[in-house]
């Protein structure tokens, strides 16, 4: 086995937490069950990894097998990557999409290889007719760098592809082209949507985040939702009860009853001219627009925004610039003067 491959496997296995070790190795399915049982999983991690790498060497693990392990590790730790979303489109009046997964994979790889000799492409089928693609980029003269791969997740017959953040921006056009052509689309555009939470991104663009449907034939009283903690203690009178109920109602109308998809930030780039009533002020004469960047960060941005008005920190309804995020599928905004 190639030394670089052995090193790569070793470093990948070292990343795996001990609690997940067995699960991931079983998912990899490269080392058979009986061999795994001969290994002592209670020893120190470094020694365990050495034993496992030895077994892999004996079985002549290839770069392909190592890449597959890397895909599986990333599938288990998808939050460690930041994911972008690309949207593809077809010409109107196109024929029905007869997507063939094997054709897609071979077409995708062919397009990359035609342009770049040194590239490692690996595939792993996933549930819901999706595929995870791992691409390690090289250059004309250098072998692919296995430690900085790009991952692409594509659900067949959908217009969206999710890619992990790539430092090498120069390869993005090639990747976009490969995706578009292989999946029978014509155009591809990068959406202004980015997050660590791949499943939330999927929920947003596939419009799966609101799956509550009212199927009652009688009118359901809203009052039961609005009761809050009004009846905690009868000795307490809420003077602003009406306003509180209004805020609660508006919040529910905007955000719904469902768990919000998870995003970590929303970013607004403003480019506006200074507007002032005072003529002759320093800024009033400025021809160039002012630029500023506003970033909202949170472990769970949309839930945080949802709780702003009920907590009394903001007025309800919130600005549509904040509430449109899942609907528009954007968390990057550029606001200019009209």
């Amino acid at each position: 086995m190639d030394e670089t491959v052995a090193e790569f496997i070793k470093r990948t296995i070292l990343k795996i937490p001990m609690t997940e070790m067995m699960t991931i190795l079983k998912a990899w399915d490269f080392l058979p069950e009986n061999q795994l049982q001969t290994v002592n999983f209670r020893q120190r991690k470094e020694s365990l990894v050495q034993d496992l790498v030895l077994l892999c060497e004996n079985k002549r693990a290839s770069l392909r097998d190592a890449a597959l392990l890397d895909i599986i590790y990333t599938q288990f730790h998808r939050h460690q990557k930041v994911w972008d979303v690309f949207q593809m489109s077809k010409e109107p009046g196109e024929d029905v999409d007869l997507f063939d997964m094997e054709q897609f994979k071979s077409s995708f790889e062919k397009i990359l290889r035609r342009a770049l000799k040194n590239v490692t492409v690996s595939f792993r089928d996933a549930e819901e007719n999706a595929v995870w693609i791992r691409i390690a980029w090289g250059t004309q003269y250098r072998k692919p760098n296995q430690y900085k791969p790009v991952f692409v997740v594509y659900y067949s017959q959908t217009p969206y592809a999710f890619t992990s953040f790539c430092h090498l921006k120069s390869n993005t056009p090639l990747l976009s082209q490969a995706l578009t052509v292989a999946s029978n689309h014509h155009k591809i555009v990068k959406m202004d949507l980015r997050s660590r939470y791949l499943d939330s991104l999927k929920a947003i663009v596939f419009k799966q985040y609101n799956q509550k449907f009212e199927t009652h034939n009688s009118t359901m009283p809203l009052q039961e939702n609005l009761e809050l903690d009004m009846h905690m203690d009868s000795r307490i009178i809420h003077e602003n009860r009406i306003e509180k109920e209004r805020v609660q109602r508006v919040t529910q109308e905007t955000f719904g009853d469902y768990p919000q998809p998870r995003l970590e930030f929303a970013q607004y780039k403003l480019e506006t001219k200074f507007k002032s009533d005072f003529h002759g002020g320093i800024l009033a004469e400025r021809k160039e627009p002012l630029r500023c960047l506003i970033k909202f960060s949170s472990p769970h941005l949309l839930e945080a925004l949802k709780s702003l008005a009920p907590a009394g920190i903001a007025d309800a309804p919130l600005s549509p610039l904040l509430t449109c995020i899942p609907n528009k599928g954007m968390n990057y905004f550029k606001i200019r003067d009209k």
Partner: protein, 294 residues
Amino acid sequence: MEWANDKSKGGVLAHLERLETQMSRSCKNLEDPPRETAESDLGTKIRKLRCLRDKLRAEVKQRQARIKASTANAEPDQTLEISEQEAVGGKEENMKAILQAYRFTGINLFASGLSGKRTSRGVCVCISTAFEGNLLDSYFVDLVIQKPLRIHHHSVPVFIPLEEISAKYLQTNIQHFLFCLCEYLNAYAGRKYQADQLQRDFAAFLAGPLQRNSLCNLLSFTYKVEPQSRSFPFCARLLYKDLTTTLPTDVTITYQGTDASSTSWEEQRASHENLFFTKPLHQVFTSFARNGER
């Protein structure tokens, strides 16, 4: 003293007399009926008035709401009565019959609009899919009754061309929109059911996994027809170019066995092609299994 000479006969004293008799007479009238009936009379009067007031209030509400609904729905669809006000207004029987007809085709309509929105009335459509008498998944489309009609949220899978169908029919013919969507969803559910059945019940006949895609409109697999046989001589590729059908539009069976010269293989291959064209996938394999048992 002019008023002493006024029109009433007898002058002042006579007038005073008259007032006195009036007074005594009215006193008598008051004392005659018992006090309880007077009160109960008033009580019933009050109750009647209250009843009337409530009736009038309800009528005012109804009329207001009807006006609201009719202005929001400038082009009421003749065949599809959606608003609740119409039901209240006495057209309930008509609506029930229409909803019943829809229910038979797998479309259920619910009056919603209470997902937090009091301002716009909504309708939640539930499309139930079925294949060969088996009830499969249900899909929901929540519509907002506004001008223009729009979809609030839905549970239709992303690979079903919902945008296309709604762009074509939603604003002009909601009935057609629902039936068209129903067609696509039922066909998809039927194809998915066949593929799932094949994978689950006839895995022994397949070499390797069934190749499929999200819409289940391209299926590719390698199979055998004799359960005991060790080789998988046939390769099948089924294309469903019409997304509203559950049977393939293109079938390609290739024989990849070693005995290429024998004509019986060619006959089998041709007959398989015909089978896949005409029968659902899992039924084809059921017949293979049955023939294999003989």
